[in-house]
């Protein structure tokens, strides 16, 4: 009997391990397809407009029907990404997701002056490099710099549009929004600079 109880206790301990493994591995097998489905490919530099629930069956799960949405897939591997848009709406907000769909950064229209959105996403290294550039006066600082600890993800802009008319106007604004690579080239990589000078 005691032997049997020992086996039962071992089972309970094992159950704890199973529980932890399932919880930790769940995000890997999750259904984050909505972002991937709408975002298109990275590097296009433009936002994909998400169809509204009134015209399409498939839309972003959890999206507010009073809002117009646009999505952009970005990659910081080559350079920083600069998001620019001019939005004329009573309220809008922006969120940055990683590839697993976790909300990693979000901000609302308070950061912008008169509806002009200008945000730069960059890695901590790119930030340092750009700062060096700024000090030498070669590049003017842009609006808001957001350092990210991951390199690939999605940018989602939500704009309040109370009816069909406001939505059509907003979609025009979103169509001209950009999320391309930052034209301000970072300072040449310090390491490669050393190699070059060493070779001379």
């Amino acid at each position: 009997m005691i032997r049997f109880l020992t086996w039962c206790i071992a089972g309970i301990l094992l159950a704890g391990i199973v529980h932890i493994v399932v919880i930790l591995s769940a995000p890997r097998y999750g259904t984050q397809d909505a972002l991937h489905r709408f975002a298109g490919t990275s590097g296009t530099g433009t936002f994909q407009l998400i169809p509204h629930a009134s015209v399409a069956d498939g839309t972003l799960p959890g999206a507010d029907v009073y809002f117009a949405h646009a999505l952009c897939r970005f990659s910081l591997e080559e350079n920083a990404v600069r998001i620019r848009a001019e939005l004329n709406a009573p309220f809008w907000s922006l969120a940055v997701f990683d590839l697993q769909g976790t909300n990693r950064y979000s901000v609302n229209d308070r950061v912008a002056e008169s509806g002009k959105l200008d945000i730069r996403l960059l890695t901590p290294l790119q930030r340092v490099q750009l700062r060096e550039n700024d000090e030498t006066g070669t590049d003017a600082a842009t609006g808001v710099d957001v350092p990210l600890t991951f390199t690939n993800g999605f940018i989602l802009i939500r704009v309040f549009a109370e009816d069909g008319y406001a939505r059509r106007k907003t979609l025009e604004d979103l169509q001209s929004a950009t999320c391309g690579r930052d034209e301000n080239r970072p300072a040449p990589d310090l390491l490669s600079q050393n190699i070059e000078s060493g070779g001379n």
């Binding site: 089972g11 529980h19 399932v22 799960p61 029907v65 769909g101 909300n103 979000s106 609302n108």
Partner: protein
């Protein structure tokens, strides 16, 4: 033989308990930092980059694109203030006000979180288009038939949820909430079969 039986029992306990508890934790939303105000429930932490494996797992299951902390907080009510599930055959009266926010929207969704929408018309309200009483509070009738005042049309038959999104609000930002936020009460008036 005895060993085999014991091994089977052990594995059985491990799988049933382990998988069962994991499923319950993910499905019921074992979440910390929830805001519960009467029938309204919000999980503002879903919009933050917090390292909560339970949150990440539950989030991966729903695939929902959540509001970030800097954007707003979403409240969902599946029951009225009396604790009964919201029913399309019943008339409800929402009264009170939402916590301070620059913008709020109130919409309907079905039980699968799919928004209710009729062509171009959005059944719902937002703070820029609602009739208020003299003291600033409002009353909204949620009913399948036409009502005077603020009428939010619900569909006859079937259950629904009320979804309130508060944008640019201080609610989610602070970890400690000294004052319980006030949300509108949802009172069931009458039901017709």
């Amino acid at each position: 033989m005895r060993l085999l039986v014991n091994l089977t029992v052990m594995m059985g306990i491990a799988l049933v308990l382990g998988l069962g508890s994991a499923w319950m934790a993910i499905d019921s939303g074992l979440r910390f930092g929830r805001i519960i105000v009467g029938p309204w429930i919000a999980s503002p932490d879903t919009g933050a980059a917090v390292n909560d494996p339970y949150l990440a797992a539950s989030h991966a299951r729903t695939g929902e694109i959540v509001l970030g902390l800097g954007e707003g907080v979403m409240f969902v009510a599946t029951t009225d203030s009396g604790g009964n599930e919201l029913d399309g055959d019943c008339t409800y009266l929402l009264s009170g006000d939402f916590p301070p926010a620059r913008l709020w929207t109130l919409t309907l969704s079905d039980t699968a979180q799919k928004p209710v929408i009729a062509d171009e018309f959005i059944p719902g309200f937002h703070n820029r288009g609602i009739l208020r009483k003299a003291d600033g509070s409002f009353e909204i009738s949620v009913a399948p038939s036409v009502q005077p005042g603020n009428w939010l049309p619900s569909e006859k038959g079937g259950r629904f949820q009320l979804v309130a999104r508060l944008y640019d609000t201080g609610l989610g930002a602070s970890g400690v909430r000294l004052v319980q936020p006030k949300m509108p009460a949802i009172e069931r008036l009458e039901c017709s079969a």
